[in-house]
């Protein structure tokens, strides 16, 4: 099998390479804490060296109660208080309440993929997608994080910290990318079965390119597409019971929306590059690629049928 998640900025997503204002302060704080811990470690090691090998007069000074009061109480009180105040100040922006006019996307964790719905100004679900989140660069996007089954956790390390998706609750988080690009993400709360294979990508566009993308997503499948022989295979195999293709009679809701599956970068929730070959392989035997996932394998389809249906899906861009 191939290494997972093609087309992203490395795998696993780099945690110490922030690319937006909601990830940057976390990175700074991590390094400050690490540097302070390293400095304290050096102090302790020097004290240990003196205690073992130092001159008698120094050792006697180390062995007094005064050192406990200074090194064990006063020093940590000062250092930790300073770090706490610094850390809370640094991260206070991350938890600001979202403003009313900000772009909102509802992301729902499902076993083991991500349902994505872009909300319009009235909070209605305007666009359906899966396993891929498109955002314009340079402005914050508010994510409404839901869960359809168990607890998942949404994490794009280069854009933000992680926030859990908990059944019965809705958590909000904001992400922002400063530059166009593809940012890898991963479910960060163990959710059973193939949890490790529950990835996704965030694609950041220039604002103009984002509007182009949005307009294309809003369009249903072209009429010519439904006469493709692959659409007939899709129908016969019953794929429409779980998958929706906008503009056709296929309107299942259990699985990812496939209206524009051909334009996605990855397949199987961030684990395979998306092309006709991987699509055909996924349909024929997704269970050996991602064991336990909710899509049954279709070994009954012939080679020709697999070629037809994957070609049709690949053409839905």
């Amino acid at each position: 099998m191939t290494a997972p998640t093609p087309g992203t900025s490395g795998w696993p997503p780099p945690a110490l390479d922030p690319a937006g204002p909601f990830a940057g302060p976390l990175n700074v704080l991590a390094w400050v804490l690490f540097a302070m811990a390293a400095a304290v470690l050096v102090i302790v090691l020097v004290a240990l060296g003196v205690a073992l090998f130092g001159p008698r007069r120094w050792r006697a000074r180390l062995g007094g109660e005064r050192l406990i009061w200074i090194g064990g109480l006063a020093f940590p009180v000062v250092v930790l208080s300073a770090l706490l105040i610094y850390g809370l100040g640094l991260t206070s922006r991350l938890t600001e309440e979202p403003a009313a006019g900000e772009m909102r996307v509802r992301v729902t964790g499902e076993m083991w993929w991500w349902r994505v719905a872009y909300l319009d100004a009235h909070g209605r679900e305007a666009l359906q997608d899966a396993n891929e989140l498109h955002i314009p660069v340079g402005r914050p996007v508010v994510l409404e994080l839901d869960s359809a089954d168990v607890i998942h956790s949404f994490w794009v390390p280069r854009l933000s910290g992680k926030v859990d998706m908990i059944p019965g609750r809705r958590n909000l988080m904001r992400i922002q990318a400063d530059a166009p690009g593809v940012y890898g993400g991963q479910c960060a709360e163990y959710c059973g079965g193939p949890h490790a294979l529950m990835g996704f990508v965030v694609v950041a566009h220039e604002p103009a390119a984002f509007e182009v993308w949005r307009a294309r997503q809003a369009a249903p499948a072209p009429a010519a597409a439904t006469s493709h022989p692959g659409a007939a295979v899709f129908d016969r195999a019953g794929c429409g019971a779980c998958h929706t293709v906008a503009g056709t009679a296929f309107n299942g809701l259990a699985g990812p929306d496939l209206s524009h599956v051909g334009s996605r970068r990855t397949l199987g929730a961030g684990i395979l590059p998306n092309n006709q070959g991987t699509l055909a392989g996924w349909i024929a035997d997704s269970q050996s690629i991602k064991p336990g996932n909710r899509m049954p394998a279709y070994p009954v389809l012939t080679g020709q049928e697999l070629r037809d249906v994957s070609a049709w899906l690949e053409s839905l861009e």
Binding site: M1, T2, A3, P4, G63, G64, E65, L67, I68, G72, L73, P76, V77, L80, S81, L83, L84, G87, L88, S92, T95, M111, L145, D149, V150, I151, S153, G161, K162, V163, D164, I166, P167, G168, R169, N171, L172, A188, E189, Y190, C191, G192, G193, P194, P291, G292
Partner: protein, 349 residues
Amino acid sequence: MKGETGFDPGLYERFPTKGPRPKGELEALEQVWCGPKGWQWITAINNNFIGVYYVGAAMLFFVLAGVLALLMRTQLALPMNGFLPQETYNQMFTVHGTVMMFLFAVPAVEALGVLLLPQMVGARDLPFPRLSAYAFWAYLIGGLAFFCSIFFGLAPNGGWFMYPPLTSTTYSPGINADFWLLGIGFIEISAIAGAIEIIVGVLRNRAPGMTLDKLPIFAWAMLIFACMIIIAFPSIILSTLLLEVERALGWPFFDALKGGDPLLWQHLFWFFGHPEVYIIFLPAAGAMSTIIPAMARTRLVGYRLVVLAMLATGFISFGVWAHHMFTTGMPTISTSFFSAASMAVSLLT
């Protein structure tokens, strides 16, 4: 003239005794104090033997969980490695975490206490030797039965933290999770029994004249450790009970669809789980504070300060559990409070 405990200090006047020893005294003493022979070792209850068994069993579980870790690292050595099937891997890391936390870490330090404490406070044995023997055998048999579930593919697979709803009947329909809930529930009851024994042993069975400010520092650590177990472990017993009732009888405690809340589990679990860190840490710190001065041939510097710090650590460690839940979307004021408390506890540590 008797003391308040009924002990007559006048008896000291008889020692050291002079004159001839009674006939057969040495043989009788040797017979009373000899080690178990043959099959007697199963029925031994003296802490010298139970303590060794107990430490040995904890080490056995340490090795077993370590083997699981080696298998998992082998799987992880290459991306998409096919060494372990997915389900086996999920069971292994759940059993590994569970065994390390519940069957190694806490029992190992408790075993050290059973082995060393009576001698350190000048007693012949713990106050309830049969209880400690019972706790040991229940722990060994229960632990082995729990571990063996992995050989049958029936081991729990929800992670050692067992967050519902992944571990509810909807998403874990098999009996795997029930093994965990019942097994861990009973192991914690056995740990509480051991903790009561340690508290009574330290507080009531000290040698005459050993006041609390002369207590060995390790005994202080074990006293605080045992008090923490008695406060923290009922929380995990309660949560395993609630989840088992939800699984077996359908009562909704954690199911959001029926009005429960998955976060209730996380609060109960971590109210136990974070003090657990210090429950493991304090006896080890106490052991170090005993060993190092002995090896360096000096007195422990700041005995009172060390005791005070351990007491305060034990106390504050009950106020930091929610720092395991920072990603669950708690209000900022809560996260700030728990950040500050977490720093305060590291201060005293």
